[in-house]
Symmetry: C2
């Protein structure tokens, strides 16, 4: 009997988990061995992390146990951290042990892109995992507790969010909702608390419809957020940030949401990368490697206008559909499919009951957009876990 | 019309609040002006602080708004911090302004007694106010969040409680109950968490019945507490504690419950003090000052065996009864009462469903003692706020 092909999927984010689920469905028994490798034993819903980070929802509502999603009779799950991709002998080095592959799916998450701004790596916090958002939530609460011991240190009540892209905007919306609760819990005068959202680009939510951006900024300003748009951060220090204008804002809490780059392992493995990402071929494969698919934060797909699509949950999931189809086709010797991104719209939450978005070509805002955001969240739970997961983790 | 006497009560702890409530009831209209001064606009239930400190109950369940307790038509309430007692011209200097008194009741809270152990003042935390216990709770949670970012720093999961008296024992009981919840919330292996309770005296709960002490220690050991009895702390550092034995225990969290001394203002005002406390006369007055009553942490009352009674809520409340009686008598020119402490028993909680105690001359332990502890708590709520307060803050 000839050996059946081994597929290794690195990372159980949007791309990895959906690829695993599709392969589980599409592959026949004994057509391939599929192994999913992930650092944690849970999948987390990155688009939901801004809520537990601000403390407006529990971290557990932003994650699902992987073994609840996959069928372990069909797919092996290895909880470990990948440390090296060795294309020359088709091996993945894990923190404990190694795995061999015939086909590889790189669904590894990205890393914060700090654009070389000094101090960001050392002193800023990032919204990027369950551990990091639990830390941010505790860190924020701790500043309130500290302030009550040292009431002269009002800087402890200043919170700086670097980046007014999707994550930055969604996070400040939640944080602004949380502040009144924290003020009540810790007996703090709300007028002492300051939230800054700082963005180097000439606008918040670059690339988004200007009318909706204006609406979003007004909603957030009314919740107490101060914007500094077209203002670069020059340096982050243990005492706060220094802006390109020379202005200094003192704070013990800087949260950086300004950018994502690909995983460092790709560069180390010898792939050609741009900001740590691989520009994939039409079939989502790394150039020169017909057996390596790259999805999500680690991949670059160009739009018809010749610009990389921003890495989102939406594109990752569409990539996973094509990736799983192509893997099955390769194994069966049938035809591969080209990947083409079909944008279905985007909704950004602005906190409780408020959001903005584009659905198809329609602009939506306020309560309608907020409901749409929840529908998108529930739809995702349904895709990965069916009705039981919707009932367990869905919130209305 | 001659001026009516002015009574100032400093501090709304057990002694101060009960004195205010009794005066409110006993004094007739226009017999005296009573002013209660307190740093916060709430009274807190010190005997309950170990729970919000560990995070097993909300801080709000350990405090009551003062204006809900007193009748503001009869008693003035001033929210301010007293900074100086001037006996020579009968004035109290507040952070904002001054108050004149004819009679003074010193019900100020004590301060941590560190016995000159280096570093305790700088690096250890104290269970002594709503602000301090919120800080301790947040600090503990923060260590768990930090540990998840730096899994090699297991010392972050070591918690040291200095002092195995009442507060220390009650706190470790709650903390041991909270740890499994925190481990679940932060995905931490419970076997990595360590709780040390360190006591210099030859036994935990010095002065308590040895059989009950043994029971208590067994309950707490089973919950994961490591005791170091008859072991002095030589030094507290930012990295933990150094014991007299030379042993070093690394930890980012040292909570000192080893002792209480009187308020620093008394020494500064020229009173003769022992550990900041005034040894009061038979009528609870500062020697040489017939118009100054001293209660609670700031007072010393000797037992028939010639040893100071430990300052407890129970003795403070009994002092308040005699103090208010004597104030009314002085104003009316009738006879004063001597204070005599009538110990009614003591119950120490050991966490959920467990306690030990002496009631009358009966030893109680386990569930019975735990229920008795709750009855004592409810009784106190009833004394200060009647049935409505029992219903609002009482927990069963």
């Amino acid at each position: 009997m000839s050996r059946i092909p081994r597929i290794v999927i690195l990372g159980a984010g949007y791309g990895g988990i959906v690829t695993a689920l599709r392969l589980q469905k599409q592959l026949n028994y004994n057509e391939a061995d599929v192994t999913l490798v992930n650092k944690h034993d849970y999948h987390y819903i990155t688009t939901h992390l801004h809520m537990p980070a601000a403390g407006t929802d529990k971290p557990d509502n932003a994650r699902v146990n992987i073994t609840k999603l996959i069928d372990e009779f069909k797919i092996d799950f290895v909880k470990s951290t990948a440390v090296q991709i060795r294309t020359e002998d088709k091996k993945i080095v894990l923190e404990e042990g190694t795995l061999s592959y015939d086909y590889l799916v790189v669904g590894l998450g990205g890393e914060p892109e700090t654009f070389g701004i000094p101090g960001l790596k050392e002193y800023a916090l990032n919204i990027r995992s369950i551990n990091s958002v639990r830390y941010i939530r505790e860190h924020i609460e701790y500043q309130f507790a500290k302030y009550k011991r040292e009431p002269s240190c009002t800087d402890l009540l200043t919170f700086i969010v670097g980046g007014a892209g999707f994550t930055g905007i969604e996070f400040v919306g939640e944080l602004a909702d949380r502040i009144p609760e924290l003020c009540k819990e810790f007996d703090v005068d709300p007028s002492l608390v300051k939230i800054y959202n700082i963005e180097a680009a000439p606008t918040a939510l670059p690339g988004f419809d200007p009318e909706l951006v204006e609406y979003a900024m007004n909603v957030l300003k009314n919740k107490g957020v101060t914007f500094k748009i077209a203002t670069a951060i020059k340096e982050c220090t243990p005492e706060g940030v220094v802006l390109a204008t020379g202005e200094e804002i003192k704070s013990a809490t800087v949260i950086w949401t300004g950018g994502i780059r690909g995983n460092h392992m790709l560069e180390e493995a010898g792939f050609e990368t741009m900001r740590g990402r691989i520009k994939v071929d039409d079939y989502l494969r790394a150039p020169g490697h017909d057996n390596i698919y790259v999805l999500g934060d680690c991949s670059i797909v160009m739009s018809p206008e010749g610009r990389p699509y921003p890495p989102t949950a939406q594109i990752s999931m569409q990539q996973a559909e094509v990736c799983s189809h192509n893997l099955v086709s390769q194994i069966r010797g049938s035809e591969l499919k080209k990947f083409e991104f079909k944008p279905k719209g985007t909704v950004a939450s602005l906190g409780r009951g408020e959001a903005i978005g584009i659905v198809g070509s329609r602009k939506i805002k306020g309560g309608v957009a907020s409901v749409m955001k929840k529908i998108i969240d529930l739809r995702y739970l349904y895709i990965i876990g069916g009705i039981p997961l919707v009932l367990k983790k869905g919130r209305f």
